[in-house]
């Protein structure tokens, strides 16, 4: 799962003077300047409604900023073509706050989705996906549909889907919000392993325990402004 040689000097996520507003409303993100280099690990904190999810959405190209520049892997969002955007998204693993699982697909097929999209064959998928399913403790739910799973189980499916394709960036919005403390730690250790292998990780969380325990730099959002701690 090694990322090979990683250039840790150049930022892979760069936001310059970014502002974001929805439908002409007030700015939810203001003058954001941020550079994240390859292999870094950040926690993103802030009160509810501070703009954490909006910032993460900018990072995985789900939104365009109202002003300023967003560059991912050195590619300027303003000049990105749809196919280029898709290629970049395949390098980003994303755990949505509300999971965004496909209800009509089984746990196996939900987790396999990024691999299928990347063109991996079924042999590869059937070798690797069950291993990860077992690791996240859902071995007995491999053919279950998400609606039959608890919130915590759905969250683990979402995490497995985000990491299955060995992403260069992992963005997670409250990934441990619905799991017990043991599972939260286990998942954090998974993120840590990925980080050691070169994956850049940004995790939005409310959990001060996790922040204290893992001691990674913290990005803090307050009233739309970003500070680095």
């Amino acid at each position: 799962m090694s990322k090979g040689s990683i250039d840790t000097t150049k930022p892979i996520i760069s936001l310059q003077n970014v502002g974001l507003r929805y439908n002409g409303g007030p700015e939810v993100l203001k003058d954001i300047n941020l550079e994240i280099k390859a292999g870094e690990f950040y926690f993103l904190t802030g009160a509810s409604g501070a703009g954490k999810t909006s910032l993460l959405k900018l990072m995985h190209l789900a939104h365009r900023p109202s002003r300023g520049k967003v560059k991912i892997f050195g590619h300027d969002l303003d000049y990105m073509k749809p196919d280029e955007m898709a290629t970049i998204r395949r390098k980003i693993g994303i755990v949505f706050q509300d999971y965004h699982l496909l209800d009509h697909l089984s746990v196996m097929d939900n987790i396999s989705l990024p691999l299928r999209i990347s063109g991996r064959n079924e042999k590869y998928i059937h070798k690797h996906v069950p291993e990860l399913i077992e690791w996240v403790g859902l071995k007995n739910f491999i053919n279950t549909k998400p609606k039959s799973l608890s919130g915590g189980q759905q969250q683990r499916v979402a995490i497995a889907r985000a990491v299955i394709n060995n992403p260069e960036i992992l963005i997670a919005d409250e990934p441990t919000g619905n799991v017990d403390e043991d599972m939260a730690k286990k998942l954090l250790f998974l993120f840590l392993e990925l980080n050691k292998m070169g994956t850049t990780i940004i995790i939005a969380t409310h959990s001060t325990n996790l922040i204290k325990q893992f001691r990674f730099p913290v990005l803090h959002l307050k009233d739309g402004y970003l500070t680095k701690e």
């Binding site: 749809p82 299928r116 889907r161």
Partner: protein, 296 residues
């Protein structure tokens, strides 16, 4: 079976699309079959009639013995025909046959002995290889007697073909309209399918699916649905043609003696479901591409 990530199982199109395609394919196939049958009929008649001439020998009403004179004229015409290159065979109907032929119009009261001057007919079959110089033959007959008329079917066939051609053009337009309606229906069904699956498509975009990936899944599904509908429509049209063929056997006398069609017609109309499949895929692909551009 291809693996799909889109929720087709809950899609309303799954029932609607095959039904509408089946109906459209049925209509287009029957229309196409009608055009083909018309064409075969025209070709059969043309082949049959272009090798036939009728010569009418009229009686001279002023003559004291018209019947005898007619016999004399028939003999002379027969000589002319024997000397004309390209005449394969000829047959002069005798008086008894003429009386039989005219009975439906004149009635039973006439008989061979009644001295009513009746016109007589000579049927002539021409060669397929040596063409007959009709103008020269007509001139020769006219020079011999003004009471002899040579009739070919050219004018009648020309009018028939003209009418048939107009009907076939109309049928062609109907087929184009049906297929266009199919394309429009597929386009709207695709749009509705995209709307139903908007959330799924959004998630797929977020995990890195290209528009091409989504388009392929959608258009393959649309093609699969329309082909399944197309097959049903095709089978229904084959069954309908089979029924028409079976019941039309009773009509195989008289003017529509050639109203027969070969079994190849079932193969020819197979082009309609294939065409419907291609149109469906093209229409779905174009619609998805257009709609996805708005979504990215």
């Amino acid at each position: 079976m291809f693996k799909t990530d889109i929720a087709f199982k809950t899609d309303i199109n799954k029932g609607f699309l095959p039904f509408i395609t089946a109906f459209m394919v049925f209509l287009a196939s029957i229309t196409f079959a009608t055009a083909l049958i018309g064409n075969n009929l025209a070709n059969d008649w043309n082949t049959h009639m272009s090798n036939n001439i009728t010569i009418q020998v009229l009686p001279d009403m002023k003559s004291k013995n018209p019947q005898k004179e007619i016999e004399e004229r028939i003999k002379n015409i027969t000589k002319i025909l024997q000397q004309t290159p390209g005449i394969k065979s000829h047959y002069a109907m005798n008086l008894k046959e003429t009386v039989e032929l005219l009975k439906p119009w004149i009635g039973d009261f006439i008989n061979n002995e009644i001295d009513i001057p009746l016109p007589r007919i000579i049927t002539v079959e021409t060669s397929n290889i040596i063409p007959v110089n009709m103008r020269a033959l007509n001139d020769e007959i006219k020079n011999y007697s003004s009471l002899i008329k040579l009739e070919t079917y050219e004018t009648w066939m020309y009018e028939f073909k003209k009418t048939l051609s107009a009907v076939q053009t109309l049928l062609g337009i109907i087929i184009i309209l049906i297929l266009s309606t199919t394309a429009i229906t597929i386009s709207y069904a695709t749009k509705s399918g995209l709307n139903i699956n908007k959330k799924v498509i959004n998630i797929m975009h977020m995990v890195g699916a290209t528009n091409k990936y989504i388009t392929n899944q959608f258009s393959r599904q649309m093609m699969k649905l329309s082909i399944s509908g197309g097959i049903v429509g095709y089978m229904f049209s084959c069954f309908t043609i089979f029924l028409i063929k079976t019941f039309s056997k009773d009509l195989n006398d008289g003017i529509i003696a050639n109203f027969q069609f070969s079994s190849y017609i079932y193969l020819y109309i197979l082009i309609i479901p294939i065409l419907a499949g291609i149109i469906s895929k093209t229409s779905a692909t174009l619609t998805i591409k257009k709609e996805l551009k708005k979504m990215v």
